[in-house]
Symmetry: C2
Subunit: 204 residues, 2 copies
């Protein structure tokens, strides 16, 4: 399994390539690819060689071809159906965010247990009662789910998602979720992001 | 400079210790400290030895003492004044989130350039016109800022924050921000979180 840091670097290269492509740049050196990313050109060459040979020594990489290749490596050359559970303040902000679609993630339905929210749409996504969640996952072969429900509801939701065939969960609830080994899970904790920032303020 | 992964592990140990302390656990082994964290007990011992000796061989760590020590190492033994810029959907969700205060981060003011938002409060935080941002930062000696404004406004906001003495920025706008070297910056990109999840779905 390639380390998570490598996958994250590929995502960063992809963003730089897309930016360059929009500006009409055709060829790019590994130095220019990593210039703003706090990554060395040598690291980028090493990362990319792992997946095949794309660049020409002394010339650089073809921007369009490399962008497509990285999208293929990351599995972004096709779109992913995603559901979101818990349409509160954070859920609504994520439903309205166009950034997911730009990378092939289409949030196709959102679930909530509050009857006042059911039947509305946010960012063109329908809010459905959580009682229909399992049925929706199976019928639409959904593999990815985002949890933005309260911490005390998150474990039960994760259990239900795992049982209906979800294989990857992005969790925002500040709670450790116990799920089967085979399911990929990632938790985002904004307070932790601040912690890693201020640590370096104190300790240059 | 200790690697960011080590700082992130300290944050994870801190959450486990707080959870254990709430349950009345007094002493904990490194194995139990890391049980749910996908980290080995040996890694935890190595991390903690780096900062001093806290545990007793064969007995384990005193939960209360270790928790306090990690809070001190991470700089969470005192509170940090934080400001937020851009009180839209995402900004409002973060202002209402009690998780920041639990780790010593107090969002004391929020700034927006939309006159309709100025004068309201969200999560007990006043929304102030962005024209007063520099003055507020200097008067209150604020060091940390969160940017939840649109991507096209983010660079100018970052420049203004840097000039008024901010030394750490947590950025949610999907844009690479050019700021002076000495300022710590971290960008959160939710699409990237999904990318690192689905990569492993494809490539077990
Ligand atoms: N990770 C972070 O840094 C961060 C930041 C902000 C919020 N949060 C977390 O994200 C979550 C949502 O926060 P929020 O501010 O949007 O909360 P909120 O109360 O505004 O929204 C929660 C939503 O979940 C719904 N819900 C509750 N139980 C449910 C269930 N069993 N099934 C389906 N839906 C259910 C509620 O009806 C509500 O719409 C919380 O866990 C919060 O702690 C995390
Ligand atoms: N990183 C992610 O995954 C993620 C997820 C959701 C949103 N976002 C990003 O977060 C940002 C906010 O998203 P949102 O959905 O809340 O947008 P929004 O439009 O709801 O809110 C933006 C707010 O910023 C204010 N604003 C605009 N220019 C400003 C300026 N110069 N100074 C101060 N305030 C200003 C607006 O008045 C508004 O209140 C965007 O950049 C968006 O792309 C990121």
């Amino acid at each position: 399994r390639i380390p998570e840091e490598t996958v994250r670097r590929l995502s960063l290269y992809l963003r730089t390539l897309r930016f360059m492509e929009n500006k009409g740049v055709q060829v790019i050196s590994s130095e220019r690819l990593t210039k703003h990313l706090n990554i060395t050109g040598a690291q980028a060459r090493k990362d990319l060689t792992y997946f095949g040979s794309f660049g020409q020594p002394g010339v650089g990489y073809n921007v369009n071809r490399l962008r497509k290749k990285i999208e293929e490596i990351l599995g972004l050359d096709h779109s992913w159906n995603v559901i979101l559970v818990g349409c509160g303040k954070l859920g609504a902000a994520l439903l309205a965010y166009p950034g997911f679609r730009r990378f092939g993630f289409r949030i196709t339905a959102a679930f909530d247990n509050n009857p006042d929210k059911v039947g509305r749409t946010i960012g063109k996504v329908p809010i459905i009662t959580d009682q229909k969640m399992e049925e929706f996952i199976r019928k639409n072969d959904v593999k990815v789910a985002i949890i933005t429900a309260p911490a005390e509801a998150a474990q039960e939701i994760a259990r239900r998602l795992a049982e209906s065939g979800i294989s990857a969960i992005l969790n925002f609830a500040p709670r450790y979720l116990v799920i089967p080994e085979k399911i990929q899970i990632k938790s985002v904790d904004m307070a932790m992001e601040l912690e890693s920032l201020v640590y370096y303020l104190k300790n240059h």
